[in-house]
């Protein structure tokens, strides 16, 4: 089984982003970028499947700007076998990504496309589902456990108040939730070795996909700042505040 693992380059989760002063978006220039944390989880899971003998090859793919090759190098250092970089604009929208992935699926013929449930920059949570729709493949989203049983994929899904297990025929789409695993480090020896692993670069246009934007961002604003708390001295004071200031009782 070949596994295709899309990985996205996003602003590192440690960085507190800020809204551009003109409100058109979030400032990303000069910020540390890393692999989307959900994608680290899918790389890990795919590599584990290969290590267990359930998969034969793990192909990491990233769609974005040239620097996304750093993200792919990380995937290679974590254990992916080879990488494909599809050059396009920065952070293309989910439908464009799904179409590009569909084209790659037709070329690479994987039996599993393993995506993060969402990217932490725009939190869209759409690409996996769209790709399943475009390909007409079954999907197991929000996976917290994935097992290959008699040629089918058993996927435990995180749903409100519990888990649901679905059994998928292959080929299939799976999107990972946070609890699926704890990804390994890209260790220094493996980063060094990853430099020698193959990486192919394509243009989005070469795949014959129209990536024109359909979404418009109207405005972006910071969440309102929370007012500092106050310390009260007595219950009576609390009741007074709740009644007269907060007007909740």
């Amino acid at each position: 089984m070949k596994i295709l693992v899309p990985v996205k380059r996003v602003v590192d989760y440690n960085i507190k982003v800020r809204v551009k002063s003109d409100g058109t978006g979030v400032e990303t220039a000069g910020l540390k970028m890393s692999m989307n944390p959900f994608d680290e989880i899918t790389v890990e899971e795919a590599v584990r499947l290969r290590e267990k003998g359930a998969a034969t090859e793990v192909i990491a793919v990233s769609i974005g700007v040239q620097q996304a090759q750093d993200t792919l190098r990380t995937a290679l250092a974590m254990g992916a076998d080879r990488a494909i970089l599809v050059l396009s604009e920065e952070s293309p929208e989910p439908l464009a990504v799904a179409k590009i992935l569909k084209a790659l699926v037709e070329r690479e013929k994987p039996e599993l496309v393993f995506l993060g449930k969402q990217a932490i920059d725009d939190d869209m949570n759409a690409t996996g589902q769209m790709l399943a729709g475009l390909l007409g493949w079954p999907q197991g989203t929000f996976a917290s456990k994935v097992e290959l049983v008699d040629g089918r994929l058993e996927v435990a899904r995180e749903i409100d108040g519990g888990t649901e297990t679905v059994s998928l025929t292959l080929p299939a789409i799976v999107t990972a939730d946070l609890r699926l695993n704890e990804p390994r480090y890209a260790s220094l020896p493996n980063i060094m070795k990853a430099k020698k692993k193959p990486m192919e670069t394509l243009q989005a246009d070469d795949l014959g996909v129209d990536t024109t934007r359909r979404l418009t961002t109207v405005s972006v604003s910071e969440p309102p700042t929370r007012k500092a708390g106050v310390k009260l001295n007595s219950v009576a004071e609390l009741v007074e505040k709740l009644r007269n200031e907060a007007k909740v009782i």
Binding site: D12, N14, I15, K16, R18, G30, S34, Y185, L188, A228
Partner: protein
């Protein structure tokens, strides 16, 4: 430790600041076939760099003569310069600055984000074939047959209790013919090397300052690109060395910060709060009004100068940049000197490689015959004068030194104390009352640390080793009332149960790697070691 993998290089450089990067570039220029590996503990190059920074392009000019054509982030030329002596309510502007304080004359210099300059230098270095690995800290010096043979990176995935976690990945040995330590001020491996080879024998103790910095974005109509301001005097007393800086640069950005000499005496002093309250002074306040704060960080700098520079080489390597203490304190500039020292060390290493020498000993001679030495020599008496006679008399001496002696005094003033020896007991120190943060111009520590983007993987051993807890109680608490809870600019140290059973709480995940605790702890009971690689602040562009 046999499970560790190893790799051989001609040169390994620990630290990706100006010194390490300049050394790496020089190495490949002079010996294109030499293999050069550079590691950086920050998650990327520049992630741990805090500086002013007004930089002198002198060393860069020598390293990359065509730097102006290389799309550099060195863009804001210094345009105006102001120096103030502050009293609580007034600012007295020093006239004829270029004569009284010629070391502060900044014509031809640039205001930059040093982190960005480092990222740019790193790209040049990689283009030239240097292998750069950010996110990996040098955790151990490898010494065999009394020769440094490289460093090992730290293990990853060790739990808080010190055991191998599920993701444990052993560190790696980076073995080298020559190892250059470019860790900046108070390097943790440099400390080990200095002790092992007794490199500080016969030189003055190093003395340090702590710089606490903020970057602001201000309304365009207020922005005066290239404006450079400094102050001394209020809010520090005459016994305490330090002052503020404020630079306008880039796109509506302001770099503001405050340096406090770590030889301060009053245990109640808080460098963070000195920085905050100085913003309220009428000389500075207008610059912040209507602006927003973007970044916060802190870092110590070496202020000892020439008298405090240790022996520079040892079998298998050398100390460069602020690790050795090459900062020019009266100028408050260490970037050009760090770069120059890295370049000279690379030249010495190339020579040693060719002749298969154990120690790149010609480095010391190369320093002695360069402008770097001349510069530090003429600056050598200024900082010790402040240490001896206080700020006002020290400033007078500095003026006398500049105008009459022209840095050629026939004497050399020495430092008598290490910074950990200068603190006065709480009972003898006068309490300081700092104003409460107003949330628009001044802020508290925690909301500040948030803007350093610092992070350490939670489940790992505490990287601030308090060697002896009972000693903390009898010295730090009983005598000094926990100075670390005030000097630490990141709120790492807190004292719990002060009334009943005082205990030191260490919030190690907040640490911004400034190194102050390692320097100032009275009993030298705190040892800063590298946490898991990639941990620490993530300073963005602009810092």
């Amino acid at each position: 430790m046999s499970e560790r993998e190893a790799m051989d290089f001609d040169v390994v450089i620990v630290g990706g600041g100006p010194a390490g990067l300049a050394a790496a570039i020089r190495m490949r220029q002079l010996a294109p076939e030499a293999t050069v590996c550079l590691i950086e503990k920050g998650s990327e190059i520049g992630a741990h760099i805090v500086s002013g920074a007004v930089i002198e392009p002198r060393a860069l000019e020598e390293l990359l003569p065509d730097w102006r054509d290389l799309d550099s982030p060195i863009q804001t030329a210094v345009s105006e310069e102001e120096m103030y002596f502050l009293t609580e309510t007034k600012g007295h502007r020093i006239p004829a600055l270029d004569r009284v304080m010629p070391h502060l004359a900044n014509h031809g210099n640039y205001v930059v984000s040093l982190g960005e300059v480092c990222r740019w230098l790193a790209t040049r270095a990689e283009e030239m074939g240097v292998e750069i690995y950010p996110g990996f800290a040098g955790a151990e010096v490898l010494i065999e047959n009394n020769r440094v043979v490289g460093v090992a990176t730290g293990d990853m995935g060790i739990t808080r209790e010190g055991e191998h976690g599920p993701n444990y990945a052993p560190g790696m040995e980076l073995r080298a013919k020559y190892t250059l330590f470019a860790e900046g001020c108070r390097g943790s491996l440099t400390k080990r090397v200095m002790a092992h080879y007794d490199l500080r024998k016969g030189v003055d103790p190093q003395t340090y300052g702590l710089g606490v910095k903020e970057v602001w974005e201000i309304p365009p109509e207020k922005h005066r690109p290239g404006l450079v301001m400094h102050s001394f005097g209020w809010p520090l007393d005459d016994r305490t060395y330090g002052g503020a800086w404020l630079y306008h640069f880039g796109e509506n950005l302001v770099s503001y910060g405050f340096v406090t000499g770590l030889d301060y005496e009053n245990t109640w002093l808080s460098p963070f709060d000195e920085m905050q309250r100085t913003k309220l002074h009428p000389v500075f306040r207008p610059h912040f009004e209507g602006g927003r704060r973007l970044i916060y960080g802190a870092r110590a700098l070496s202020e000892g100068g020439l008298q405090s520079i240790p022996r520079l080489t040892f079998p298998g390597g050398a100390l460069i940049g602020d690790s050795a203490g090459f900062l020019n304190t009266p100028k408050i500039k260490g970037t050009h000197t760090a770069m120059k020292s890295g370049m000279l060390a690379a030249e010495a290493v190339v020579e040693a490689l060719a002749t298969d020498r154990v120690e790149p000993g010609s480095f010391t001679q190369r320093v002695r015959t360069s402008w770097l030495y001349e510069e530090l020599k003429s600056a050598r008496n200024v900082r010790p004068a402040f240490a001896r006679w206080g700020m006002k008399a020290g400033a007078l001496y500095a003026g006398f030194d500049a105008m009459v002696l022209r840095g050629k005094a026939p004497w050399t003033l020495h430092f008598r104390h290490s910074d950990n020896e200068t603190l006065q007991p709480a009972s003898l120190s006068e309490p300081i009352s700092y104003p409460k943060p107003d949330g628009t111009v001044t802020f508290d520590k925690l909301s500040s640390v948030f803007l350093s983007n610092t992070n350490h993987a939670e489940d790992q051993p505490v990287h601030l080793h308090v060697e002896n807890m009972p000693l903390w109680k009898t010295v730090n608490w009983d005598v000094f009332r926990s100075p670390e809870s005030r000097y630490c600019p990141a709120g790492v140290y807190e004292v719990a149960s002060q009334e009943t059973d005082p205990r030191l709480v260490i919030n190690a995940q907040n640490c911004v790697h400034c190194k102050t605790c390692d320097i100032k702890d009275p009993a030298q009971n705190i040892d800063w070691v590298t946490p898991e690689g990639g941990g620490g602040p993530n300073y963005p562009a602009g810092m």
